[in-house]
């Protein structure tokens, strides 16, 4: 009996080994490399020169503004995406006839088929002097500057990340048992109260997933701020691009990355705790 159990344990370990190795190679190893780099020094001509110093971490305050920008605009962009995506997902999931649903869903994804780069480029022209400001001037509103402002970056974020936010919310609303809405109405709940008390809480998993996806990706975003912020709205992602591709200061880049990873880990664990608590008991009836 005991022998059996022992060999079973070995078997489990053997079966798990490839997965563990994969996990190690794909996730842990790069992180360790970055961690080691972050305590090193920049070589004279750029790159990594070994050593052990806390200098890189001491230099973090020089990128304070980038951290601040990211930590303000990423949550704001996430929130704004949510505010735009939710009504869209709601409309698609609950208001659109089955025959149009697929077409409209595809329309939401279609922009994803071209690169974000090309789409963001289109926004440079839309928000630039010949775009919306010219239209506003035409109706008498002068001197509006859109491009290269935090507002433009937010617009780009909402545009670029919309599908990522729409889909999880759409799925959770699709899954929502529509008779629950009738039940609420039957019990005297006005459409608004029904939304607040039934639809919204039951779509919470979708909201949380969408926000998490968008937020995490936004923390590393560099394309949209570079293009729509004109280099004046500077994210941590831009600082990293500069550090690795321009000044080739790998150790400092690594230190910034490690800090970013730590911030994200904290956010994700907060998210996990939040959803775990609110989810107690929901899965079985919803999934």
């Amino acid at each position: 009996m005991r022998e059996d159990r022992k060999s079973g344990r070995w078997l489990t370990a053997a079966l798990l080994a490839p997965t563990s190795l994969w996990f190690l190679v794909m996730l842990i190893f790069p992180l360790i490399v970055i961690l080691v780099f972050s305590f090193g020094e920049r070589a004279a001509v750029g790159g990594y020169a070994g050593g052990f110093t806390l200098e890189q971490y001491a230099n973090l305050p020089s990128r304070l503004k980038a951290f601040q920008n990211t930590l303000v605009i990423a949550p704001a962009g996430t929130l704004l995406s949510l505010l735009v995506a939710y009504p869209l997902a709601y409309f698609l999931a609950l208001r659109v006839g089955r025959q149009y649903k697929l077409i409209l869903l595809v329309l939401v994804i279609v922009p994803f088929w071209t690169s974000l780069l090309v789409r963001t480029y289109a926004w440079i022209f839309i928000l630039g002097g010949r775009g919306i400001p010219a239209l506003l001037e035409f109706i008498g509103i002068e001197g509006v500057r859109l491009i290269n402002t935090p507002g433009a970056v937010l617009i780009g974020i909402v545009y670029g990340y919309l599908p990522l936010m729409v889909f999880p919310i759409f799925v959770s609303l699709e899954k929502l048992d529509k008779t629950l809405l009738e039940a609420s109405s039957d019990l005297g709940g006005s459409p608004f109260k029904t939304f607040i008390q039934v639809t919204l809480p039951l779509s919470m998993p979708g909201i949380a997933t969408g926000c998490m996806l968008v937020f995490i990706l936004l923390m590393g975003e560099f394309l949209i701020p570079a293009f729509l912020g004109g280099g004046k709205v500077f994210f941590i992602g831009n600082a990293l691009v500069d550090l690795f591709l321009q000044s080739r200061n790998w150790p400092f880049g690594a230190a910034v990355s490690v800090t970013l990873v730590v911030i994200m880990l904290i956010t994700v664990s907060l998210y996990m705790r939040m959803t775990l608590r609110s989810k107690t008991g929901r899965d079985e009836s919803l999934m």
Partner: protein, 386 residues
Amino acid sequence: MSKSNDNRPITAKRFMKELRRYEKGSVSRRHFLGVTGLGTAMAVMGAAMPSLWPGKAQAGDLGDRLIFSTWPNYHDQANLDEFTAKTGVNIQVNAFGSNEEMLAKLQAGGTGWDVFVPTNYTISNYVALDLIQELDLSRIPYYDAAANNPKFAGPATVNGKVYCVPKNWGTTGFVLNSKEIMSSPKSWKDFFDVTMGAGSGHTIVHDYQLTTIGAALCALGYSFNSIDPKELAEAEALLIKSKPHLFAITSDYQPGMRSGDGWMSICWNGDATQLHNDLPEMEYVIAADGGEIWTDFYAVPKDAPHLDAAYAFINFMQDPKVQAREAAVHGYAPTDSRAIALQPPSLASDPILHPAENLMNGLEFGAAQTLTDPVRAEVMARFKSA
């Protein structure tokens, strides 16, 4: 391309052609693809999917491909096609954004590049890092050292050995929209004064430490290439002071200038030509208090996999007729007097391509140490992050 090929996936050649067309309209010279990482993506894709390449059964001694890293909008596709037609060598073009990025890639190793286009001040660094190889000039018969002005060709020779051959030269000044800016600024000092005055909110500086910090240094009366920490600190202060008045920090400044948002920008003369051709009010200024003069070269990395093709390609591009045709498209001047002689008079006398000698008195070639100086890199990063 034969009819029977039509249902095959897009060929690399066509892909590049399409990409080039896209770049023509919207992308200026430097930095664009560097920021996007598209250059890298293309390089990886090309290496990972050799089946994209139409196989040449009769491929000669040169092999069937060449990987070429250069800048956007810097070639006439017709010339590249002609080379392929003559030799059977398909050219995979990677467009890069900055010298720093090229260096970063080569330092990391395994690029697979055969030929690339570095700028003068980087060459001694590449030699010191043992990243490029000495050229056997006998394999580049079209290259005529005597026809090249040593002022431009000089950096190709390091410790008496020739590591590259010149491609084009140009200047870095600024472009302004004369309909918006009436005060006709003449210097970098004027440039920053206008930026923080009448032109507030409409100036573009490069996302490129060499030119942006260089411009600020010149405005303060220092050398474009200074690495003196005190002088750099002053330049940083000037840049940070001007930051609220800037329209953008980007090396992709053509769209901003064309849309009317940008009134003034640090500018390479080829971009100025392109802008001026479309919008006559765009004027190019070589600043009286300094600036950059530069030469780009063809060089071969140490580990170039297709060396024969690399030599054949460089030689082809050195043909004065090819050089002249190239210049007519991208708007940068050849260094080769034979090629200049072949240019139409309108181009040969164009003041943006060939400024009067006295205007260029204050211009400096980029210095080797500016590429790697950590203080300059950090100053730029702090300015952007401010």
